[in-house]
């Protein structure tokens, strides 16, 4: 069954509307739908369709190159999805203008060309292309009601065409409405479910694993609903040089492109930093006026972003394989997972990030109206940069409040527009993003920076501790030829974050300190050179000798016990035991702990024929020698014992028989 007339054209227009690719969508729709009015057709064989699919491949490569050049963040994947209808359009148009209404599946590039292709798999490409257009439109991520309504309308149109004629249109429409309602409820539930799952999972796993910040892209909580909760875990420790003050903000990564809750670093290119002597890494040439700070943290993965104060130009005592820096000042270290304690030299007055580019002034289309409205409201256009900064700072500190609870937004506004125009409450990501875009609106180049706020001085450790919940975001503003940190988040955020601290925090801090000290000790041991350990030879040698002596002693004891066991068994094969067994049979058992001598005496006393036992005394004596004499008995004596026992037994048997 064919797609209903004009449906594919409408779908193409829908895709163009959602993605903003009107210039491509309109001609494509016209070209495809014109095939209904143009009567001439090409007689295309499978080979011709294969050639057409080669054009698609060329388009695919072209689109990929364009995307790689223009945007190297992870958003590229979603941008690529948006381009899919363009890439596949030659095949669909070829089908529309060919004499055949189907294309052999073998014509598509994924299938190899075979010499004797017997089976054909004819496929009407319009249906897959229809699905592709809807999918591509969804990748544009326009979060308004129109996408869902449009998608339902288009899919519903297909369903009504293929519907079962057994049922009336009324039944069909009722069920379609039900499906639409269920779908709406379902997708809202899915979205909220994912956010809840993310929050809970992140909270759970943060205890074991600290996720790395991606230097190319970061996902903010902008647009999420519910409350943002961070862990109390100490992620790093900071100790300024004596007599110096600690930096208030330490930067981790900087980004310059915003899109629907994501910040990305455009064309970020990491350049390796040259290693100096003694694990020193020089980010920029030295400056006489400097401050020093030591940062201790665990590098959980093999790759991690260094936390650096503004104007860092040198890192000492950093035992890593490689250090790289991108043009935005983000520094990345590559090393085995280990504990790091590095010293940073910095000058807060300096900035080494690359000069601003066109991307540092870009505002996403969806946010432009809200930004323009605020700029007008604050009359920023007519002010000098310094005045703008103070106005914006005042605006956010007086008109806005800090909150970790994120409100639900209206569907017709973006979360950021809703923050600026309606609820005016949010966390640092909202403030930093809004400030970044607002200043761009008045022509000041800005960038978005994430890192940590340093404000908690630990009495226990006598150094600053930075917890996961101290993670912060602010703006880098390019004024007077250098980048400067500009933080508009109301100062109350620290108090609000601290209120979220757990009751177990002190206990956690103590265990964390023990772990820290142990890691530090291990790091020290690891760094000690072998030649300095010569003095350890004596105590270690002493321990070794003592240990080996003890071991030898234990071995000798074990050997002795074994030998004793062998000695104990000597004489066990004496034939005297045959006599004992015979006497046992007659009820004349030898009692436990009764010696042979005593037993014989007892037997003689009890027996009428005591003379017969007289011969046993000599045998017993010989047996005792065989059994207990350390020198043992000779072969002849042994034979004598054997024959004497047998002779006595025979005599005893004959006596018994004669008695009977």
């Amino acid at each position: 069954m064919k797609l209903p007339p004009f449906l594919l054209g409408a779908t193409l227009l829908f895709w163009g509307w959602q993605t903003g690719f009107w210039i491509i969508a309109i001609p494509l729709a016209i070209i495809y739908e014109s095939s209904r009015y143009i009567n001439w057709r090409w007689n295309l064989a499978t080979a011709d369709f294969r050639s057409t699919s080669h054009i698609c491949t060329v388009l695919l490569v072209g689109v990929l190159i364009y995307l790689l050049v223009s945007d190297r963040s992870l958003q590229l994947i979603f941008s690529f999805f948006q381009w899919l209808p363009v890439i596949c359009s030659p095949l669909v148009i070829a089908q529309a203008y060919s004499t055949s209404d189907r294309v052999d599946l073998h014509a598509l590039l994924v299938f190899k060309e075979q010499a004797n292709q017997k089976q054909l798999f004819p496929l009407d490409l319009t249906y897959p292309y229809f699905a592709l257009c809807i999918l591509a439109a969804s990748a544009a991520n326009v979060r308004d009601l129109f996408f869902y309504a449009g998608a339902v309308f288009l899919i519903g149109h297909v369903l009504i065409t293929i519907r079962s004629k057994r049922f009336s249109v009324l039944v069909f429409i009722s069920l379609l409405i039900l499906a639409t309602a269920l779908g709406a409820a379902g997708h809202i539930g899915l979205h909220r479910g994912q956010i809840a799952l993310q929050q809970n999972t992140a909270r759970f796993f943060y205890r074991f694993y600290r996720p790395q910040t991606d230097p190319n892209q970061i996902t903010t909580a902008i647009g999420d609903i519910g409350s943002v909760k961070q862990s109390n875990k100490i992620v790093l420790r900071l100790k300024p040089a004596s007599g110096q003050i600690a930096p208030t903000l330490i930067r981790q990564a900087t980004y310059n492109k915003y899109s629907s809750g994501f910040w990305g670093a455009t064309k970020a290119e990491f350049v390796p930093i040259k290693a100096g002597n003694n694990n020193t890494w020089i980010l920029e040439n030295g400056y006489p006026e400097k401050r020093e700070v030591t940062i201790s943290e665990n590098l959980d993965e093999g790759r991690g972003l260094l936390k650096l104060p503004q104007g860092s130009f040198r890192v000492n005592k950093l035992p890593v394989e490689k250090v790289e820096q991108n043009q935005y000042g983000t520094v990345q270290a590559i090393a085995e997972p280990s504990f790091l304690s590095y010293q940073i030299q910095y000058n807060p007055q300096l900035s080494f990030a690359s000069p601003p580019t066109a991307e540092d002034l870009q505002i996403p289309k969806l946010e432009q109206s809200a930004i323009a409205r605020i700029i007008n409201e604050l009359e920023l256009a007519s002010k000098s940069p310094q005045e703008i900064l103070s106005t914006v700072n005042r605006f956010f500190s007086t008109e806005f409040s800090y909150s970790l609870k994120l409100a639900r937004q209206r569907r017709d506004r973006t979360p950021l527009s809703a923050f600026l125009l309606r609820h005016r409450s949010g966390h640092c990501e909202y403030f930093a993003t809004a400030t970044t875009l607002l200043l761009r609106g008045v022509g000041i180049p800005t960038r978005y920076t994430v890192g940590y706020s340093v404000h908690e001085l630990s009495r226990l450790e006598r150094q600053y501790v930075v917890r996961a919940r101290h993670a912060h975001a602010w703006t880098q503003v390019y004024i007077n030829g250098k980048w400067q940190a500009f933080d508009t988040t109301p100062a109350s955020w620290i108090a609000i974050e601290d209120n979220a601290a757990s009751n177990w925090q002190h206990f956690q801090d103590l265990t964390s300190l023990i772990g820290f000290q142990f890691s530090q000790l291990l790091a020290i041991v690891k760094n000690i050179e072998i030649r300095r350990l010569w003095w350890l030879i004596f105590p270690l040698g002493f321990i070794l000798v003592r240990f080996s002596r003890q071991r030898q002693k234990r071995r000798l004891t074990a050997l002795r016990i074994k030998q004793n066991a062998v000695e104990y068994n000597i004489g066990a094969d004496s034939e005297i035991y045959l006599i004992e067994r015979e006497l046992n049979k007659l009820g004349l058992a030898r009692e436990q702990a009764e010696t042979w001598q005593n037993w014989l005496k007892r037997l003689q006393n009890a027996s009428d024929n005591s003379a017969i036992f007289d011969g046993l005394y000599a045998i017993v004596k010989l047996h005792y020698r065989y059994r207990f004499d350390p020198h043992g008995i000779g072969v002849r004596e042994r034979e004598q014992l054997r024959s004497a026992c047998r002779a006595w037994l025979e005599q005893y048997q004959s006596t018994l028989n004669s008695d009977r």
């Binding site: 979603f78 869902y148 079962s164 639409t180 779908g183 956010i195």
Partner: protein
Amino acid sequence: MKFLYHLFCLGYKVQQWLLKRFTSAGLAILVSLVATVIVGIDTKQTVTYQVFAFMIATLIIAVTFSCYFPARFDVQRQLPRFATVGSRLFYRVAITNRNQKLQAGLLFIEEIADPKFSLTEFKQIITSNSNKGSVNSLTYIYYRWLCAIAQKRKAKTKAIALPSLKPNSTTEIRGEITPTHRGVVRLQGITILRPDPFNLFNATKTVKQAGSLLVLPKRYQLPVFNLPGSRRSQSGSVSLASSVGDSEEFISLRDYRPGDPLNKIHWKSWAKTGKPVVKEEKSEYFVRHALILDTFQSQKHSEILEEAVAVAASFAWDFHTQESLLDLMFVGLESYCFTTGRGLGSKEQMLEILAGVTACQDNFDCLMAAVVEKVSMLSGCICILISWDQQRRKLVNYLRGFKIPLLVLLITENEQQHEDLNLENLYVLPLGKIQAALMNIRSI
């Protein structure tokens, strides 16, 4: 291995269930669902999850709707005894609607018996030698598994739309089966399908109705040609043959010799002489041809063997058996020789036998021995070979030594491999071009 076996069995069951329960549109929705899951896994990055939710909602409604299908049907199918590979078979099916309501928009599909494989058979399938693809490749193992299933099912069916079924009345419709492999097709019932309003998912009602059908081998069209050959003595071997041609002709009487058949005793002479006397008759002379089918290969099934059987069936069918005999000789589980012609047996029986031919994995000498036994009586011979090696060459040379007309047909996958074969009356029939190659055969 055991895990793979259970996985494949489960996979087959799931596939059958999906194909029966989901309509084409339903399957398209399923594929789209997978695509939306991949693209829309993160609900923050795209809004694909909205499309996913809508499609899942339609599917849920469709599946829920299929739970209620309170209809009752009776089915009677009139199945012919035979079908031929590759030729669609049409037959009559009478469906009785036992409800008080008109049933419209229904479909029906034939249920072919589940081709159950044991673990041993499965091992044979996946370890059998093949020159295609890598034996260890999972994809290729699955491909072989699918081939084995198709081989065992032997036929394909598809859902056919039913006309509106009036209440409490019987409607006769035309069923359709496409046989794909020779052998017995076992049908176990007919399933009536009712799609939901979205036409995505089918409600089903299966009526058990066992039936079977013998699928005869495919036949090719043969050129008109005669296999010459002089008549040979057929001493008493065709006693059941009709009297067409050389009938029993009396020559003389002689004394009984142990071993003479009882029907040859001349009772009147015995009564006169008092000792057993038998009639001596003139020996029978007529044309007898052999159709030798080579079934020796390492695999259990192969396309070459199927084609060889098809070519043999074509000759067996086209052979004029009024005045001559045709011996079909091949080796399956044991050595077989079936004779037809002169009123003995029929062409249909020959095709039935060919429908059951299986590959022989024994020594080629078995066939050689069977041929040696019959060769003195043969007037001509058609040899259908599936390979060319020393043993087969020996067979052909042996037959050639008897100076009887011989036609050798070699079926091969690779035509170039046998280009240098320059034997008289040997024709190479490449796979895929067999019909064309057969038309080139000239009379011997």
